[in-house]
Amino acid sequence: MKDVRADFPILARGVGGRPLVYLDSAATSQKPRVVIEAEARFYREANANVHRGLYALSVGATELYEGARRKVAAFIGAAPEEVIFTRGTTESLNALAYSLGEARVGPGDEILVTVMEHHANLVPWQLLAQRKGARLLAVGITPEGELDLEEFKRKLSSRTRIVAVTHVSNVLGTVNPIPEISRMAHAVGATVVVDAAQSVPHMAVRVEELGCDFLAFSGHKMLGPTGIGVLWGKRELLEELPPFLTGGEMIREVWIDRATWNDPPYKFEAGTPPIAQAVGLGAAVDYLAELGMDEVRRHEEELVALALEGLLARDYVEVYGPVDPDARGGVVAFNLRGIHPHDVATLLDQEGIAIRAGHHCAQPLHRLLGVPASCRVSVYVYNTADEVKLFLEALDRVWESLGG
């Protein structure tokens, strides 16, 4: 892939006199100048509230906001009216658990999740199950760190109302076979919800190919601003579901004792939306589309292969998840024998290398792996093979000072 580092102003800054080696894009990505500028330009030149004003400035702002929606929709192969802007993946999933739960889940029904879910795609379903007297079941993983599809088949039944699964695990990196999962889930009449926070930023995603019913992702993990995310849903489902927040543009008619709703996606966008953030996300999508998502994926696979190879070659390192880079997204989680991940992160930080250490909002998975926490490196378009090598060499120094 072409060198894009010059497009990201933050990469020019140092950390304690050293260049910044940013290996935490799975937490949040850095932003290219075009995104920063798009958001700033909106405030400088185009700011007004959307959908309401009858004056030129508001019409222009609305056009920019809706233009962003069209860009995001095209990016995932969806129709614009199926793209709801939210605050992020977490809000998308929480809101959906509420609406879908109201419409589709009752006592004795089952909700099927996996042990590799981020808390944001687990806890909302826990609460829903408690509210409705439904049962929550979780599918485990194989020793290789892949979803146990046999267990999935066993746990899927005519009682299953919802299957909620991550596309790419934010710890194991595992890419789950969503098309297959969707087929099996639909065969029993279940609705399929996909957490795509770690996939949409890193690979070409077409909702039709996935076959799912809902897809959630965040803007800030895909070069866009914070405060903007997406919930995509099939049109007929969005028409059926009740709204989760009320007031503002989601309203059609209101009387003192009742109200009716606007059409999707507006039905699910109560209050003034994150307009500038949507415009920024639109610029991010343009930038990624220009790079080409297949190219992004190829670049990350190269870096992940390099990181995996280096980590697996070090006998003091334990790596979690599939060893085949093809079966993974852009994250690699690991531990140094007998060393707490926080120590690893702190020592790497001394060399300007930013990695994540903790449970990555996936406590059940860590319990299953038998560790309280793990280190995680994650890569994106601006990372280089040299940075991965720097990281691996620095890891040897961490081991030298604390290990053995």
Partner: protein, 128 residues
């Protein structure tokens, strides 16, 4: 300041007073749940003096080195003196700790306060 002064590396590699006592007067455990750090602290008390002390646990280098150092600081001290010990005393002895890791460094301090409470030693004057 490096977060891993030689002192921390030394206490991490060669922990002092690590293990368990056969007949402790107090035996308490504290944890930093999100990190998985767990610390057990035991004291043998005679005539109001912490005559012997042991710690055991698992966690990051900072929490474990801090625990080791704390046992050195408290062994042979009067409980009255331990009551007056402040967080800063431990942090200063460690040579300073970077902000994101304060919780790790202070786990042993919290464990000591729990031990003193279990022994019926009243909180020091003026503390919340």
């Amino acid at each position: 300041m490096s977060p891993y002064e030689d002192l921390i590396i030394d206490h991490w590699r060669n922990p002092r007073n690590k293990g368990t006592l056969p007949d402790p007067d107090v035996d308490v455990t504290e944890a930093n749940v999100p990190c998985g750090d767990v610390l057990r602290l035991q004291l043998k008390v005679r005539d109001g003096v912490a005559e012997d002390v042991r710690f055991d646990g698992r966690g990051c280098a900072i929490s474990m080195a801090s625990a080791s150092l704390l046992t050195e600081m408290i062994k042979g001290k009067k409980l009255e003196e331990l009551r007056e010990m402040r967080e800063e005393d431990l942090l200063d002895a460690l040579g300073g700790v970077i902000k994101p890791r304060l919780k790790c460094a202070l786990l042993p301090y919290r464990t000591l306060r729990k031990a003193l409470q279990a022994l019926g030693v009243r909180e020091r004057s003026g503390s919340p």
